[in-house]
């Protein structure tokens, strides 16, 4: 777990600043013309049930490795300039930031494609698990809606 804003891949307990992450990304190149960002936040309702809190657990080392693979493949396959991926773990309240993907490129088309692919790939390949707390108890969420 690292909290250095220069690290392009991070899994951390604390919140992140989207502005700071984008400003860090802008420093990578003066040719960046478009930055597409996806932010995942904690929703209040899941399958009709009110959620009071979320908890995230990850497999250390493997999760970071998968995120780095996603970053490298995004740069290579979509021709973007750079990408950063930050995922929080531990306790997260409704409305709080969970995951951030920042895709920067010369033109906007590739940044949308890369960002959308990266979040789907993160959900598919990165060992991170979510536990939802509702009025009926706690449950590990096993599907990817």
């Amino acid at each position: 777990m690292s909290t250095t804003i220069d690290a392009k891949i991070r899994i951390q307990l604390e919140n992140f600043s989207i502005t700071d992450e984008i400003e860090a990304m802008k420093k990578v190149s003066r040719n960046i013309g478009g930055i597409t960002t996806f932010l995942g936040t904690g929703r209040e309702i899941s399958k009709g049930q009110n959620i009071s809190e979320l908890n995230f657990e990850h497999y250390p080392k493997m999760a970071e490795k998968k995120l780095e693979e996603i970053r490298e493949k995004s740069i290579k396959d979509f021709g973007i300039i750079d990408m950063s991926i930050i995922h929080r773990i531990g306790h997260i309240d409704i409305g709080e930031n969970i995951v951030l993907i920042v895709a920067a490129g010369e033109h906007r088309g590739e940044t949308f494609k890369a960002c959308e692919w990266a979040i789907a790939e993160l959900k598919r390949t990165t060992p991170i698990w979510k536990r939802e707390t509702t009025s009926t108890g706690e449950v590990w969420v096993q599907d990817t809606p």
Binding site: K61, M62, K123, R131, W140, V141, Q142, D143
Partner: protein, 84 residues
Amino acid sequence: MITIKYFASLKSIAEKEEDSLDIENPISIDQLSDIISKTAPKMGAVIREKKVMISVNQEMASADTIIRDGDEVAFLPPFSGGSI
């Protein structure tokens, strides 16, 4: 010594987070699953029903992947991705 790790929902099924097995090796994931089933039948059932993925040294593995002394085997329930 083989290190075994359980995550998320599997921790309560296995009733532990980590285990160290001093077993003869190299063996396949399939053979390891048999050994686990003997001492932890509920966990064995989950593995047999393919409700989990398995990694060896942080890379995805399959039933015939061979594991050796010092390897880290992890049982991974389906990922939630942590967002929508």
